[in-house]
Amino acid sequence: MATAGSGDELKVLGAWASPFLVRVLFALQLKGLRYEYVEVDLKEKNELLLASNPVHKKIPVLLHAGKPVCESQLIVQYIDEAFPASGPSFLPADTHARAVARFWGAYVDDKLLSSWKGIFATKDEEENAEAVRQTLAAADALEGAFRECSGEKLEWFGGDGVGYVDIVLGGLVPSMNVLELAVGIKVVDPDRTPLLAAWKDRFCALDAAKAAMPPLDRLLENAKKYLAEISFKTPASK
């Protein structure tokens, strides 16, 4: 496994359940980079976190030779650009394909994730049901994106291999599994989104993904506790 470069140590500040952390760890694993992981308890003030991300005070933060990079998608882009010799590039060579990858990367956070958060945002069951519909619609759009981006092989958004959108969406895979097990909502579904369902299984089989994802049972237990705290009622499906 390649090292980060002489004296340029990599440190990741994270919270074990975070999908944004999964993205960063997955990217580092894909590049074969060594890093030190530091678990941050978000309920307590962490001096290193506050010094590294004073603006948002959020994880993940990547520290490269002590210099912080924040925002999970920016960190993934940074890892790709700062370590060009380590493993394949996350973005394709073709400029139009790169723009398409950036578009869908933005879509995952702007549309899929924002709808997803809405499912648990209020006590209003009608609003929650609408959020579920929007989340599934966003997943349907990503099914189309997968067909557009993956080429003949239909394996990865990145085409020939794992790419940027695989990493960005891949971070949400553990959460997708938990959402299905805890409340029966299938963001990705073999009937509705067959390509993404196959992609999700393929993702979970990767060594780099296994090393990046939190243990499912622990995540599920965590989710159930949270759902009980907010007295969540699964919206009735149409």
Binding site: E71, Y78, A82, A99, F103
Partner: protein, 247 residues
């Protein structure tokens, strides 16, 4: 029928936009900096054109760059696309620095300007109550305060965030200046203060230089055009969100 202008590589280039949209302004500025000719097509966001809907079926928003018939959507993706296709070796410097850490820093503050600053000042314009307006003004001023600090860190004493010439972050924040003018004119809200005792002296000096650049003069409409557009929106779309307002 008028001849389609060709981009440098011969592929024809069209931009679907709204002249007052910060997301469109920043893209037009990159194109101008790169001396790329394109056909600009102003869009009516109330009645969306077939071309807009087919080119950006996912969001139906502007800007959309259509290069050789292929659409590129999302202003940040378009900016990086234009920067890559018309790279430094041909015309105009790159808008992103070469160093990966500096690139990450520019993208971070650009994302901040769009996700924290922009929704705050849009909120000022759409606030339903005085209380809400005050809250949004406070958020706006807090965000611009952060960017004032960032300018100090990024610019190294030079004129722009990117140094001697305009870069990615300059464009993202600079494209919002038009609407700061609207806020001053219509709401009496001053976002970047150029008076003595200003809390944003660095940005005041930066803004003065930015509006004097060729690309700003070429691309940015006058404040009254933006004021008229806002009045049109207020009449037709009470309680609009950011996305309906400006893209």
């Amino acid at each position: 029928m008028e001849k389609e202008p060709k981009g440098d590589d011969g592929g024809d280039l069209k931009l679907l936009g709204l002249t007052v949209s910060p997301f469109v302004i920043r893209v037009r500025m990159v194109l101008q900096m790169k001396a790329v000719s394109y056909r600009y097509i102003e869009q009516d966001l109330f009645i969306k054109s077939d071309l807009l809907v087919t080119s950006n079926p996912v969001h139906k928003k502007v800007p959309v760059l259509i290069h050789g018939g292929r659409p590129v959507c999302e202003s940040s993706a378009i900016m990086e696309y234009v920067d890559e296709v018309w790279a430094a070796s041909t015309t105009g410097a790159s808008i992103l620095p070469a160093d990966p850490y500096e690139r990450a820093t520019a993208r971070f503050w650009a994302a901040y300007a769009d996700s924290k600053l922009l929704p705050a000042w849009v909120g000022i314009m759409w606030a339903a109550t005085e209380e809400e307006r005050t809250e949004k003004v406070d958020e706006t001023l807090a965000a611009i305060g952060r960017l004032e600090e960032a300018f100090g860190e990024c610019s190294n004493g030079k004129a722009f965030f990117a140094g001697d010439s305009v870069g990615y972050l300059d464009l993202v924040l600079g494209s919002q200046l038009l609407w700061f003018g609207v806020l001053r004119k219509m709401f009496g809200v001053v976002v970047i203060d150029d008076d003595a005792g200003s809390k944003t002296p660095l940005l005041a000096s930066w803004a003065k230089q930015f509006v004097e650049t060729d690309m700003a003069k070429e691309v940015v409409p006058d404040v009254d055009t933006a004021v008229e557009y806002l009045k049109k929106l207020q009449a037709h779309r009470p309680g609009s969100t950011v996305t309906q307002l400006l893209s």
